[in-house]
Amino acid sequence: MRRKTIGVIAAAAVFAMTLAGCTAGSSGSGSTSTSGGSSSEPYIAIISKGFSQQFWQAVKNGAESEATKEGARITFEGPPTESDVEQQITMLTNALAKKPDAIGFAALDSKAAAPLMEQAKSSKIPVIAFDSGVDSTVPVTTAATDNKAAAAEDAKHLSELLNGKGTIGLVIHDQTSKSGTDRRDGFMDWMKKNSPDIKMLDPQYSNSDLAKAADITKSIIAANPDIAGFYGSNEASAEGVAKGIQESGKTGLKAVGFDSGKAQIDAINSGVLSGSITQNPVGIGEAVVKAAMKAIKGESQPKFIDTGFFWYDKTNIDDPKIKALLYQ
């Protein structure tokens, strides 16, 4: 009798957890946003790489405003940290189950989602890749910054700041996503080709953890007394580089970053960072929804939509054109 009761309770608990798991999966750590209410509106499910970094909030804002304009309904969600590849795959699986009219997807791992891409294709759901590409022919188009070109621009500026010589440290946000490898390789390739007297240390990876990026930066400074410059490949890495330089008390270093965010902008204004590359996150969000609508309507479009990037430093940080791209 007692065993039976326990069994029933256990079964109920498992059931409840499954339910909870489903709801948690569908809402994820992201919030659901809707515009308009009619169910005849096309529904676009957007799975981003993150949610809490300001960059993703800016992408979300761009997507929402474009959706309102085009009369579409969107949901926007992303895993809590940019190393949660598996969680993101779960989100994508659940999004597919909702049978949206189109999917926007920024892959944390460019290969992990390949089987799901095939599934989307067979259910005739068009996929718009954004931010980093997916190793698959399924996405109709990819709306992203040309990360290699953007990183090369960063390399060019750092080389100029150092007059083409010196040892530099590289703090890269991760080693599996395409944006991580592109920003690493784009930077390193440009340096090797154009600035051979700059010695690049082995890249270190921050996993987008600000504190970790700061500790890495300090270790590099300690290990290389002749260090002259740094490159941080995303918001957390660049802010960590700035933090590490400040904590170490070392002066005269030149450092360049990527993206924006309040701490990074402050570091540029105070001179700890010399400048940074900003992408166009709002533009990426808009482009995803725009491309999704085109795909739903069956219009043709290019395979790659370059959403652009800009170098900014103390001199142009208040320029309205740049300011519009920076987020705090």
Partner: protein
């Protein structure tokens, strides 16, 4: 550092236990010295004042979490809510100090107490509702992670209007010396925790609940009440860690923190505290946390590729627990 506790003395084998726990500390300390010597030899840039302080600095957050959770682990419990609980407390410090503009000291105290609240809920779940600590704190880990994002609206809270807040961590109390306050705070916290663990009723019951909860209860001690007290006390350290990390970063980062709990638990285990309870020390935990950060720093300094750094860290954890096991088997044989 360690002094006999009353319960320990009454328990058969208490003296031997104490000696063993001392021995593990020596082993861990010896390990730390060996690692330290190795890196000093391998790179001239390792043993410099600034690198030394930055190693200590990077120990602060994990160290604070580890010291607090040593109490829980000695009761044979575990706390998986350390990392995200810390993020939640960091966010709450932002809410108190930046959003509500409370006086700095009050905000800090409230944030630390909020950590105590997390511990209190964990304690009630474990002691009264009899939920296994692993599950209770796993649930809290998720709740805290979610709440940190909800409360902060998924955006970091910046303390730039309150520069005094950052100086809690990055300021230099010792004039003319670039020695961050955070390290001094960690040292003070470690001493307080060691005194509580070794000299107070709370500490005594922590050991005795971990050694044998049933026997402790039979001897007339309200183990439920004391478990709740222990989890709450340990929660205060989660709150403090939240304050320390946001003070260091000048911002409360709501997404940071998952994974920190395992690093803290690893530090405790390397320091010789048994996951089966009843055995452990604050000094050991501090040494364990130092081993972790010295390894992290040293491997970076001698340019070991990052992929391998985690492999080495994992092997060190295994080695620490393995030597502990061999030694214990040797003693009991």
């Amino acid at each position: 550092m360690t002094t006999p506790t009353v319960i320990d003395q009454k328990r058969p084998g208490g003296l031997a236990n104490r000696l063993r726990s001392r021995l593990q500390q020596f082993l861990a300390f010896g390990g730390l010295i060996v690692i330290f010597a190795f890196f000093s030899f391998a790179s001239p840039n390792f043993l410099t004042f600034s690198n030394f302080t930055s190693m200590l600095f990077s120990t602060v957050v994990i160290g604070t979490l580890a010291i607090g959770t040593t109490f829980v682990i000695i009761t044979a419990g575990i706390d998986l809510s350390l990392g995200t609980g810390m993020s939640l407390c960091a966010v709450m410090s932002g809410v108190f100090i930046v959003n509500w503009q409370l006086p700095l000291l009050l905000g800090v105290v409230l944030a630390i107490l909020f950590g105590g609240l997390i511990g209190l809920v964990n304690g009630i779940n474990v002691a009264l509702l009899k939920i296994p600590p692993f599950i209770a704190t796993l649930a809290m880990m998720l709740v805290a992670q979610g709440l940190a994002l909800v409360i902060s609206k998924s955006t970091p809270i910046y303390f730039d209007k309150v520069p005094a807040f950052s100086s809690i961590s990055t300021g230099n109390l010792i004039p003319g010396l670039n020695f961050p306050n955070a390290v001094i705070i960690l040292a003070i916290v470690a001493v307080i925790a060691a005194v509580v663990l070794n000299k107070t009723v709370l500490g005594r019951y922590t050991y005795s609940i971990g050694s044998n909860e049933e026997a402790t209860a039979i001897s007339g001690i309200n183990t439920r009440k004391w478990l709740i007290v222990i989890y709450t006390f340990s929660g205060l350290f989660i709150g403090l860690a939240g304050v320390m990390i946001s003070a260091r970063l000048g911002s409360a980062q709501p997404a940071l923190g998952s994974g920190y709990e395992l690093q803290a638990i690893a530090a405790v285990v390397i320091g010789g505290t048994s996951l089966f309870g009843g055995k452990g020390s604050i000094l050991g935990t501090v040494i364990g946390a130092l081993i972790m950060s010295v390894l992290n720093n040293g491997l970076q300094i001698i340019s070991v590729p990052q992929e391998w750094q985690n492999v080495i860290l994992g092997i060190v954890i295994l080695a620490a627990v393995y030597t502990d096991n061999i030694r214990r088997r040797g003693v009991s044989a």
